[in-house]
Subunit: 264 residues, 2 copies
Protein backbone atom coordinates (compact mmCIF):
# COMPACT_ATOMS: atom_id res chain seq x y z
CA UNK A 1 0.00 0.00 0.00
CA UNK A 2 1.57 3.25 -1.16
CA UNK A 3 1.37 6.30 1.09
CA UNK A 4 0.35 9.20 -1.19
CA UNK A 5 2.41 11.56 0.96
CA UNK A 6 5.52 9.75 -0.24
CA UNK A 7 5.02 11.35 -3.65
CA UNK A 8 7.00 14.55 -3.23
CA UNK A 9 7.42 15.33 -6.92
CA UNK A 10 6.30 14.42 -10.42
CA UNK A 11 9.12 11.95 -10.93
CA UNK A 12 7.89 9.82 -8.01
CA UNK A 13 4.27 9.84 -9.17
CA UNK A 14 5.22 8.99 -12.72
CA UNK A 15 7.48 6.12 -11.63
CA UNK A 16 4.61 4.61 -9.63
CA UNK A 17 2.27 4.97 -12.61
CA UNK A 18 4.88 3.43 -14.89
CA UNK A 19 5.40 0.33 -12.75
CA UNK A 20 1.66 -0.04 -12.18
CA UNK A 21 1.70 0.61 -8.44
CA UNK A 22 -0.45 3.80 -8.71
CA UNK A 23 -3.63 3.65 -10.83
CA UNK A 24 -5.83 6.11 -8.91
CA UNK A 25 -6.57 9.87 -9.20
CA UNK A 26 -3.63 12.21 -8.69
CA UNK A 27 -5.43 14.95 -6.73
CA UNK A 28 -3.26 16.01 -3.80
CA UNK A 29 -0.13 14.18 -4.99
CA UNK A 30 3.24 15.91 -5.43
CA UNK A 31 2.06 19.20 -3.93
CA UNK A 32 3.53 22.25 -5.63
CA UNK A 33 3.96 20.55 -9.02
CA UNK A 34 1.59 21.32 -11.86
CA UNK A 35 -0.73 18.56 -13.02
CA UNK A 36 -2.14 18.44 -16.52
CA UNK A 37 -4.84 17.12 -18.82
CA UNK A 38 -3.71 14.88 -21.68
CA UNK A 39 -5.07 14.65 -25.22
CA UNK A 40 -3.40 12.36 -27.79
CA UNK A 41 -4.45 12.58 -31.46
CA UNK A 42 -3.09 11.36 -34.78
CA UNK A 43 -1.06 13.93 -36.72
CA UNK A 44 -3.84 14.28 -39.30
CA UNK A 45 -5.99 16.02 -36.66
CA UNK A 46 -3.18 17.72 -34.76
CA UNK A 47 -3.08 20.98 -36.71
CA UNK A 48 -6.81 21.53 -36.24
CA UNK A 49 -6.58 20.76 -32.53
CA UNK A 50 -3.49 22.91 -32.00
CA UNK A 51 -5.35 25.73 -33.76
CA UNK A 52 -8.39 25.13 -31.54
CA UNK A 53 -6.17 25.51 -28.47
CA UNK A 54 -4.48 28.61 -29.89
CA UNK A 55 -7.88 30.18 -30.50
CA UNK A 56 -9.29 29.23 -27.09
CA UNK A 57 -6.41 29.68 -24.68
CA UNK A 58 -8.50 30.08 -21.54
CA UNK A 59 -10.15 26.63 -21.71
CA UNK A 60 -7.19 25.04 -23.56
CA UNK A 61 -3.96 26.39 -22.03
CA UNK A 62 -1.14 24.38 -23.60
CA UNK A 63 1.78 23.50 -21.36
CA UNK A 64 3.48 21.26 -23.94
CA UNK A 65 2.89 19.68 -27.35
CA UNK A 66 5.06 16.82 -28.59
CA UNK A 67 6.55 16.17 -32.00
CA UNK A 68 4.57 13.51 -33.92
CA UNK A 69 5.42 10.07 -32.52
CA UNK A 70 7.42 11.40 -29.60
CA UNK A 71 5.97 10.18 -26.27
CA UNK A 72 8.20 12.50 -24.21
CA UNK A 73 6.89 15.93 -23.17
CA UNK A 74 10.32 17.52 -23.36
CA UNK A 75 9.36 20.89 -21.96
CA UNK A 76 7.33 19.97 -18.88
CA UNK A 77 8.92 16.61 -17.95
CA UNK A 78 11.91 15.66 -20.11
CA UNK A 79 12.30 12.13 -18.71
CA UNK A 80 8.61 11.23 -18.76
CA UNK A 81 6.84 8.81 -21.09
CA UNK A 82 3.25 9.79 -21.81
CA UNK A 83 2.45 6.16 -22.76
CA UNK A 84 2.97 4.88 -19.23
CA UNK A 85 3.24 7.76 -16.77
CA UNK A 86 -0.41 8.50 -16.07
CA UNK A 87 -2.45 6.31 -13.71
CA UNK A 88 -5.17 5.59 -16.24
CA UNK A 89 -6.23 6.59 -19.74
CA UNK A 90 -9.38 6.64 -21.82
CA UNK A 91 -9.38 5.42 -25.42
CA UNK A 92 -12.12 6.78 -27.68
CA UNK A 93 -13.03 5.48 -31.15
CA UNK A 94 -15.51 7.51 -33.20
CA UNK A 95 -16.53 9.33 -30.03
CA UNK A 96 -17.21 6.14 -28.05
CA UNK A 97 -15.25 5.14 -24.95
CA UNK A 98 -13.75 1.74 -25.76
CA UNK A 99 -11.08 1.14 -23.11
CA UNK A 100 -9.58 2.54 -19.89
CA UNK A 101 -6.07 1.09 -19.88
CA UNK A 102 -3.32 1.90 -17.40
CA UNK A 103 -0.77 2.18 -20.19
CA UNK A 104 -0.89 2.90 -23.90
CA UNK A 105 1.54 0.29 -25.24
CA UNK A 106 -1.20 -1.48 -27.22
CA UNK A 107 -2.49 1.74 -28.74
CA UNK A 108 0.56 3.86 -29.48
CA UNK A 109 1.05 5.05 -33.07
CA UNK A 110 4.05 6.71 -34.67
CA UNK A 111 1.89 9.62 -35.78
CA UNK A 112 0.48 10.48 -32.33
CA UNK A 113 0.80 14.08 -31.16
CA UNK A 114 0.29 14.64 -27.42
CA UNK A 115 -1.15 17.80 -25.94
CA UNK A 116 -0.40 18.56 -22.28
CA UNK A 117 -3.02 21.06 -21.09
CA UNK A 118 -2.94 23.01 -17.85
CA UNK A 119 -5.46 22.16 -15.12
CA UNK A 120 -7.20 24.05 -12.36
CA UNK A 121 -5.34 22.33 -9.51
CA UNK A 122 -2.60 24.96 -9.87
CA UNK A 123 -4.84 28.00 -9.36
CA UNK A 124 -6.86 26.24 -6.66
CA UNK A 125 -3.64 25.67 -4.71
CA UNK A 126 -2.88 29.37 -5.04
CA UNK A 127 -6.38 30.25 -3.79
CA UNK A 128 -6.00 27.94 -0.79
CA UNK A 129 -2.57 29.40 0.03
CA UNK A 130 -4.19 32.85 0.01
CA UNK A 131 -6.82 31.67 2.48
CA UNK A 132 -9.73 31.56 0.04
CA UNK A 133 -12.23 28.74 0.49
CA UNK A 134 -12.62 26.26 -2.37
CA UNK A 135 -16.02 24.70 -1.71
CA UNK A 136 -15.73 21.40 -3.59
CA UNK A 137 -12.37 20.71 -1.96
CA UNK A 138 -13.84 21.43 1.49
CA UNK A 139 -16.64 18.97 0.71
CA UNK A 140 -14.42 16.36 -0.93
CA UNK A 141 -16.42 16.28 -4.15
CA UNK A 142 -15.73 17.09 -7.79
CA UNK A 143 -15.90 20.69 -8.96
CA UNK A 144 -19.28 21.53 -10.57
CA UNK A 145 -18.99 22.11 -14.32
CA UNK A 146 -21.50 23.61 -16.75
CA UNK A 147 -21.95 23.96 -20.49
CA UNK A 148 -22.42 27.65 -21.35
CA UNK A 149 -24.00 29.44 -24.30
CA UNK A 150 -20.59 30.91 -25.15
CA UNK A 151 -19.25 29.30 -28.32
CA UNK A 152 -15.58 28.49 -28.56
CA UNK A 153 -13.85 29.76 -31.68
CA UNK A 154 -13.94 26.74 -33.98
CA UNK A 155 -10.89 25.31 -35.77
CA UNK A 156 -11.24 22.78 -38.57
CA UNK A 157 -13.37 19.91 -37.25
CA UNK A 158 -13.28 21.11 -33.64
CA UNK A 159 -16.04 23.31 -32.21
CA UNK A 160 -18.33 23.45 -29.22
CA UNK A 161 -19.46 25.48 -26.22
CA UNK A 162 -17.21 26.81 -23.52
CA UNK A 163 -17.48 24.59 -20.45
CA UNK A 164 -16.87 26.31 -17.11
CA UNK A 165 -16.16 25.26 -13.55
CA UNK A 166 -17.82 27.15 -10.68
CA UNK A 167 -16.57 28.08 -7.22
CA UNK A 168 -18.80 30.10 -4.84
CA UNK A 169 -17.11 33.06 -3.12
CA UNK A 170 -18.08 36.17 -1.23
CA UNK A 171 -17.80 39.29 -3.42
CA UNK A 172 -14.61 40.41 -1.70
CA UNK A 173 -13.11 36.96 -2.06
CA UNK A 174 -14.20 36.96 -5.69
CA UNK A 175 -12.09 40.08 -6.21
CA UNK A 176 -9.13 38.36 -4.55
CA UNK A 177 -9.72 35.28 -6.69
CA UNK A 178 -9.56 37.41 -9.86
CA UNK A 179 -6.25 38.85 -8.71
CA UNK A 180 -4.80 35.50 -7.69
CA UNK A 181 -5.89 33.43 -10.70
CA UNK A 182 -4.93 36.15 -13.18
CA UNK A 183 -1.35 35.26 -12.32
CA UNK A 184 -1.81 31.81 -13.87
CA UNK A 185 -2.83 32.32 -17.53
CA UNK A 186 -1.42 28.92 -18.49
CA UNK A 187 -3.84 27.13 -16.16
CA UNK A 188 -7.13 28.82 -17.18
CA UNK A 189 -6.26 32.21 -15.66
CA UNK A 190 -8.84 34.75 -14.53
CA UNK A 191 -12.55 33.91 -14.26
CA UNK A 192 -14.68 34.37 -17.36
CA UNK A 193 -17.80 35.39 -15.43
CA UNK A 194 -18.98 36.41 -11.95
CA UNK A 195 -22.59 36.26 -10.83
CA UNK A 196 -25.80 35.52 -12.75
CA UNK A 197 -25.53 32.00 -14.20
CA UNK A 198 -28.28 32.67 -16.75
CA UNK A 199 -26.16 35.38 -18.38
CA UNK A 200 -23.91 32.62 -19.74
CA UNK A 201 -26.70 30.14 -20.47
CA UNK A 202 -26.72 28.15 -17.24
CA UNK A 203 -30.35 27.49 -16.34
CA UNK A 204 -29.90 25.70 -13.02
CA UNK A 205 -26.79 26.27 -10.93
CA UNK A 206 -27.81 23.36 -8.67
CA UNK A 207 -27.58 20.89 -11.55
CA UNK A 208 -24.11 20.84 -13.10
CA UNK A 209 -23.55 19.08 -16.44
CA UNK A 210 -20.42 17.42 -15.04
CA UNK A 211 -19.06 16.95 -11.51
CA UNK A 212 -21.04 17.57 -8.32
CA UNK A 213 -23.34 20.36 -7.14
CA UNK A 214 -22.04 22.47 -4.25
CA UNK A 215 -23.98 24.87 -2.02
CA UNK A 216 -23.76 28.63 -2.61
CA UNK A 217 -24.26 30.50 0.66
CA UNK A 218 -26.48 33.59 0.88
CA UNK A 219 -23.60 36.07 0.85
CA UNK A 220 -21.78 34.36 -2.00
CA UNK A 221 -21.75 34.72 -5.78
CA UNK A 222 -20.87 31.97 -8.23
CA UNK A 223 -17.53 32.56 -9.95
CA UNK A 224 -16.88 30.80 -13.26
CA UNK A 225 -13.60 29.73 -14.83
CA UNK A 226 -12.92 28.22 -18.26
CA UNK A 227 -12.57 24.47 -17.80
CA UNK A 228 -10.39 21.74 -19.31
CA UNK A 229 -13.50 19.73 -20.13
CA UNK A 230 -14.03 22.20 -23.00
CA UNK A 231 -11.42 20.68 -25.34
CA UNK A 232 -12.51 17.16 -24.42
CA UNK A 233 -16.11 18.02 -25.27
CA UNK A 234 -15.02 19.57 -28.59
CA UNK A 235 -13.06 16.43 -29.44
CA UNK A 236 -15.90 14.09 -28.54
CA UNK A 237 -18.31 16.15 -30.66
CA UNK A 238 -15.97 15.77 -33.64
CA UNK A 239 -15.96 11.95 -33.13
CA UNK A 240 -12.43 11.41 -34.45
CA UNK A 241 -11.56 7.81 -35.41
CA UNK A 242 -9.14 7.58 -32.48
CA UNK A 243 -8.26 9.84 -29.56
CA UNK A 244 -6.78 9.14 -26.16
CA UNK A 245 -7.21 11.24 -23.03
CA UNK A 246 -6.38 10.90 -19.36
CA UNK A 247 -9.07 9.27 -17.25
CA UNK A 248 -10.95 11.87 -15.14
CA UNK A 249 -8.84 12.90 -12.14
CA UNK A 250 -5.92 10.74 -13.29
CA UNK A 251 -3.74 13.60 -14.45
CA UNK A 252 -0.20 13.84 -15.78
CA UNK A 253 2.08 15.21 -13.05
CA UNK A 254 4.75 17.48 -14.56
CA UNK A 255 8.13 18.69 -13.30
CA UNK A 256 6.93 22.30 -13.56
CA UNK A 257 6.34 23.96 -10.22
CA UNK A 258 3.01 25.76 -9.93
CA UNK A 259 4.90 28.96 -9.21
CA UNK A 260 6.84 28.69 -12.48
CA UNK A 261 3.47 29.17 -14.20
CA UNK A 262 2.82 32.46 -12.42
CA UNK A 263 3.26 35.73 -14.27
CA UNK A 264 3.43 39.30 -12.99
Amino acid sequence: MINPNSFTNGIAVRAACRDGSWIKPTCGLAGGFAQANLVVLPKALAFDFLLFCQRNPKPCPLLDVTEPGDPMPRHVAPDADLRTDLPRYRVWRDGELVDEPTDLSRYWQDDFVSFVIGCSFTFESAMLRAGLPVRHIELGVNVPMFRTNIACRSAGVFHGPLVVSMRPLTPSNAVRAVQITSRYPSVHGAPIHIGDPSAIGISDIARPDFGDAVPIHAVEVPVFWACGVTPQAAIMAAKPPLVITHSPGCMFVTDIRDEELAVG
Copy 2:
Protein backbone atom coordinates in the same frame (compact mmCIF):
# COMPACT_ATOMS: atom_id res chain seq x y z
CA MET B 1 -0.88 62.93 -50.60
CA ILE B 2 -2.40 61.14 -47.63
CA ASN B 3 -2.05 62.67 -44.19
CA PRO B 4 -0.99 59.81 -41.89
CA ASN B 5 -2.90 61.44 -39.05
CA SER B 6 -6.09 60.70 -40.95
CA PHE B 7 -5.65 57.03 -40.15
CA THR B 8 -7.51 56.81 -36.87
CA ASN B 9 -8.03 53.05 -36.87
CA GLY B 10 -7.04 49.81 -38.56
CA ILE B 11 -9.97 49.91 -40.97
CA ALA B 12 -8.70 53.17 -42.47
CA VAL B 13 -5.11 51.96 -42.83
CA ARG B 14 -6.21 48.68 -44.38
CA ALA B 15 -8.52 50.42 -46.87
CA ALA B 16 -5.64 52.63 -48.02
CA CYS B 17 -3.39 49.59 -48.39
CA ARG B 18 -6.11 47.76 -50.29
CA ASP B 19 -6.65 50.52 -52.84
CA GLY B 20 -2.91 51.07 -53.22
CA SER B 21 -2.82 54.57 -51.79
CA TRP B 22 -0.58 53.58 -48.82
CA ILE B 23 2.53 51.46 -49.53
CA LYS B 24 4.86 52.73 -46.79
CA PRO B 25 5.69 51.63 -43.22
CA THR B 26 2.87 51.71 -40.70
CA CYS B 27 4.81 52.98 -37.67
CA GLY B 28 2.76 55.67 -35.93
CA LEU B 29 -0.46 54.99 -37.86
CA ALA B 30 -3.79 54.27 -36.14
CA GLY B 31 -2.45 55.00 -32.67
CA GLY B 32 -3.88 52.71 -29.99
CA PHE B 33 -4.49 49.79 -32.36
CA ALA B 34 -2.18 46.79 -32.30
CA GLN B 35 0.01 46.19 -35.33
CA ALA B 36 1.30 42.76 -36.24
CA ASN B 37 3.88 40.74 -38.12
CA LEU B 38 2.58 38.46 -40.88
CA VAL B 39 3.82 35.00 -41.90
CA VAL B 40 2.00 33.03 -44.62
CA LEU B 41 2.92 29.38 -45.21
CA PRO B 42 1.41 26.42 -47.07
CA LYS B 43 -0.62 24.05 -44.89
CA ALA B 44 2.08 21.37 -45.20
CA LEU B 45 4.37 23.52 -43.02
CA ALA B 46 1.69 25.09 -40.85
CA PHE B 47 1.62 22.49 -38.08
CA ASP B 48 5.37 22.72 -37.57
CA PHE B 49 5.25 26.52 -37.53
CA LEU B 50 2.25 26.66 -35.20
CA LEU B 51 4.11 24.29 -32.90
CA PHE B 52 7.22 26.51 -33.13
CA CYS B 53 5.13 29.49 -32.03
CA GLN B 54 3.47 27.49 -29.22
CA ARG B 55 6.90 26.46 -27.93
CA ASN B 56 8.40 29.94 -28.21
CA PRO B 57 5.61 32.28 -27.15
CA LYS B 58 7.84 35.20 -26.17
CA PRO B 59 9.37 35.73 -29.64
CA CYS B 60 6.30 34.34 -31.47
CA PRO B 61 3.17 35.65 -29.72
CA LEU B 62 0.24 34.62 -31.91
CA LEU B 63 -2.63 37.07 -32.19
CA ASP B 64 -4.48 35.08 -34.85
CA VAL B 65 -4.06 32.08 -37.15
CA THR B 66 -6.35 31.53 -40.13
CA GLU B 67 -7.99 28.38 -41.44
CA PRO B 68 -6.16 27.03 -44.51
CA GLY B 69 -7.05 29.15 -47.55
CA ASP B 70 -8.92 31.77 -45.55
CA PRO B 71 -7.39 35.24 -46.09
CA MET B 72 -9.46 36.80 -43.30
CA PRO B 73 -8.02 37.06 -39.78
CA ARG B 74 -11.40 36.62 -38.15
CA HIS B 75 -10.29 37.25 -34.58
CA VAL B 76 -8.18 40.40 -34.91
CA ALA B 77 -9.83 42.06 -37.93
CA PRO B 78 -12.93 40.23 -39.22
CA ASP B 79 -13.38 42.36 -42.35
CA ALA B 80 -9.72 42.41 -43.37
CA ASP B 81 -8.12 40.59 -46.29
CA LEU B 82 -4.53 39.59 -45.63
CA ARG B 83 -3.86 39.42 -49.38
CA THR B 84 -4.31 43.15 -49.87
CA ASP B 85 -4.41 44.95 -46.53
CA LEU B 86 -0.71 45.36 -45.79
CA PRO B 87 1.33 48.10 -47.50
CA ARG B 88 3.95 45.72 -48.85
CA TYR B 89 4.91 42.04 -48.64
CA ARG B 90 7.99 39.94 -49.17
CA VAL B 91 7.82 36.67 -51.12
CA TRP B 92 10.53 34.10 -50.36
CA ARG B 93 11.27 30.97 -52.40
CA ASP B 94 13.74 28.46 -50.95
CA GLY B 95 14.91 31.13 -48.52
CA GLU B 96 15.58 33.73 -51.25
CA LEU B 97 13.69 37.02 -51.52
CA VAL B 98 12.06 37.00 -54.97
CA ASP B 99 9.48 39.79 -54.86
CA GLU B 100 8.13 42.68 -52.77
CA PRO B 101 4.58 43.09 -54.05
CA THR B 102 1.96 45.43 -52.62
CA ASP B 103 -0.67 42.70 -52.84
CA LEU B 104 -0.67 38.92 -52.95
CA SER B 105 -3.22 38.22 -55.68
CA ARG B 106 -0.62 36.60 -57.93
CA TYR B 107 0.72 34.39 -55.16
CA TRP B 108 -2.28 33.30 -53.12
CA GLN B 109 -2.86 29.55 -52.72
CA ASP B 110 -5.86 27.72 -51.32
CA ASP B 111 -3.65 25.96 -48.78
CA PHE B 112 -2.11 29.10 -47.28
CA VAL B 113 -2.27 29.49 -43.50
CA SER B 114 -1.62 33.00 -42.19
CA PHE B 115 -0.02 33.74 -38.83
CA VAL B 116 -0.62 37.17 -37.29
CA ILE B 117 2.10 37.73 -34.70
CA GLY B 118 2.20 40.47 -32.08
CA CYS B 119 4.78 43.25 -32.44
CA SER B 120 6.65 45.50 -30.05
CA PHE B 121 4.84 48.69 -31.07
CA THR B 122 2.17 47.85 -28.47
CA PHE B 123 4.50 47.64 -25.48
CA GLU B 124 6.56 50.59 -26.70
CA SER B 125 3.39 52.70 -26.71
CA ALA B 126 2.73 51.61 -23.14
CA MET B 127 6.29 52.54 -22.15
CA LEU B 128 5.94 55.97 -23.75
CA ARG B 129 2.60 56.54 -22.02
CA ALA B 130 4.31 55.74 -18.72
CA GLY B 131 6.99 58.35 -19.45
CA LEU B 132 9.81 55.91 -20.17
CA PRO B 133 12.24 56.90 -22.93
CA VAL B 134 12.47 54.64 -25.99
CA ARG B 135 15.82 55.54 -27.48
CA HIS B 136 15.38 54.41 -31.09
CA ILE B 137 12.04 56.23 -31.31
CA GLU B 138 13.66 59.39 -29.91
CA LEU B 139 16.34 59.10 -32.59
CA GLY B 140 13.99 58.13 -35.40
CA VAL B 141 15.88 54.93 -36.25
CA ASN B 142 15.09 51.22 -36.21
CA VAL B 143 15.34 49.30 -32.93
CA PRO B 144 18.69 47.47 -32.60
CA MET B 145 18.29 43.68 -32.80
CA PHE B 146 20.76 40.93 -31.97
CA ARG B 147 21.09 37.20 -32.43
CA THR B 148 21.67 35.54 -29.03
CA ASN B 149 23.20 32.23 -27.96
CA ILE B 150 19.80 31.18 -26.59
CA ALA B 151 18.31 28.46 -28.77
CA CYS B 152 14.60 28.49 -29.46
CA ARG B 153 12.81 25.23 -28.81
CA SER B 154 12.73 23.63 -32.25
CA ALA B 155 9.58 22.26 -33.92
CA GLY B 156 9.75 20.07 -37.00
CA VAL B 157 11.85 21.90 -39.60
CA PHE B 158 11.93 25.17 -37.66
CA HIS B 159 14.78 26.03 -35.32
CA GLY B 160 17.19 28.86 -34.63
CA PRO B 161 18.48 31.33 -32.07
CA LEU B 162 16.34 33.74 -30.11
CA VAL B 163 16.66 37.21 -31.64
CA VAL B 164 16.22 40.11 -29.22
CA SER B 165 15.60 43.83 -29.47
CA MET B 166 17.40 46.19 -27.07
CA ARG B 167 16.30 49.40 -25.37
CA PRO B 168 18.66 51.23 -22.98
CA LEU B 169 17.14 52.31 -19.65
CA THR B 170 18.26 53.47 -16.25
CA PRO B 171 18.00 50.67 -13.68
CA SER B 172 14.90 52.18 -12.09
CA ASN B 173 13.28 52.62 -15.47
CA ALA B 174 14.26 49.03 -16.29
CA VAL B 175 12.23 47.91 -13.27
CA ARG B 176 9.27 49.98 -14.48
CA ALA B 177 9.71 48.54 -17.98
CA VAL B 178 9.50 45.00 -16.57
CA GLN B 179 6.27 45.89 -14.80
CA ILE B 180 4.76 47.64 -17.80
CA THR B 181 5.69 45.13 -20.50
CA SER B 182 4.73 42.13 -18.33
CA ARG B 183 1.15 43.26 -18.88
CA TYR B 184 1.46 42.48 -22.61
CA PRO B 185 2.36 38.78 -22.92
CA SER B 186 0.83 38.61 -26.40
CA VAL B 187 3.26 41.21 -27.73
CA HIS B 188 6.57 39.77 -26.42
CA GLY B 189 5.84 40.53 -22.77
CA ALA B 190 8.55 41.02 -20.14
CA PRO B 191 12.23 41.38 -21.04
CA ILE B 192 14.28 38.19 -21.34
CA HIS B 193 17.50 39.78 -20.05
CA ILE B 194 18.82 42.92 -18.35
CA GLY B 195 22.45 43.97 -18.39
CA ASP B 196 25.56 42.14 -19.63
CA PRO B 197 25.13 41.50 -23.37
CA SER B 198 27.83 38.81 -23.36
CA ALA B 199 25.73 36.69 -20.98
CA ILE B 200 23.37 36.01 -23.89
CA GLY B 201 26.03 35.76 -26.56
CA ILE B 202 26.10 39.33 -27.83
CA SER B 203 29.74 40.27 -28.41
CA ASP B 204 29.35 43.91 -29.45
CA ILE B 205 26.33 45.91 -28.32
CA ALA B 206 27.34 48.70 -30.71
CA ARG B 207 26.94 46.41 -33.73
CA PRO B 208 23.42 45.02 -33.99
CA ASP B 209 22.69 42.15 -36.39
CA PHE B 210 19.55 43.96 -37.60
CA GLY B 211 18.30 47.54 -37.26
CA ASP B 212 20.39 50.46 -36.05
CA ALA B 213 22.82 50.97 -33.15
CA VAL B 214 21.67 53.36 -30.42
CA PRO B 215 23.77 54.98 -27.67
CA ILE B 216 23.64 53.59 -24.12
CA HIS B 217 24.31 56.36 -21.62
CA ALA B 218 26.63 55.86 -18.64
CA VAL B 219 23.84 55.36 -16.11
CA GLU B 220 21.87 53.01 -18.34
CA VAL B 221 21.73 49.25 -18.78
CA PRO B 222 20.68 47.45 -21.95
CA VAL B 223 17.31 45.73 -21.61
CA PHE B 224 16.49 42.91 -24.02
CA TRP B 225 13.11 41.69 -25.29
CA ALA B 226 12.29 38.69 -27.46
CA CYS B 227 11.84 39.94 -31.01
CA GLY B 228 9.53 39.11 -33.90
CA VAL B 229 12.54 38.66 -36.17
CA THR B 230 13.06 35.32 -34.39
CA PRO B 231 10.33 33.43 -36.27
CA GLN B 232 11.34 35.04 -39.56
CA ALA B 233 14.95 33.93 -39.03
CA ALA B 234 13.78 30.39 -38.17
CA ILE B 235 11.70 30.28 -41.35
CA MET B 236 14.50 31.58 -43.56
CA ALA B 237 16.91 29.02 -42.08
CA ALA B 238 14.44 26.25 -42.99
CA LYS B 239 14.34 27.56 -46.61
CA PRO B 240 10.75 26.49 -47.29
CA PRO B 241 9.73 26.33 -50.98
CA LEU B 242 7.41 29.33 -50.50
CA VAL B 243 6.71 31.71 -47.63
CA ILE B 244 5.32 35.22 -47.55
CA THR B 245 5.92 37.83 -44.85
CA HIS B 246 5.20 41.50 -44.36
CA SER B 247 7.91 43.84 -45.62
CA PRO B 248 9.94 45.29 -42.70
CA GLY B 249 7.97 48.03 -40.97
CA CYS B 250 4.95 47.47 -43.22
CA MET B 251 2.81 45.78 -40.59
CA PHE B 252 -0.75 44.53 -40.52
CA VAL B 253 -2.89 46.96 -38.50
CA THR B 254 -5.55 45.08 -36.51
CA ASP B 255 -8.84 46.12 -34.93
CA ILE B 256 -7.54 45.06 -31.50
CA ARG B 257 -6.79 47.95 -29.19
CA ASP B 258 -3.40 47.77 -27.49
CA GLU B 259 -5.16 47.83 -24.14
CA GLU B 260 -7.21 44.74 -25.04
CA LEU B 261 -3.91 42.87 -25.06
CA ALA B 262 -3.09 43.89 -21.49
CA VAL B 263 -3.49 41.40 -18.67
CA GLY B 264 -3.49 41.91 -14.91
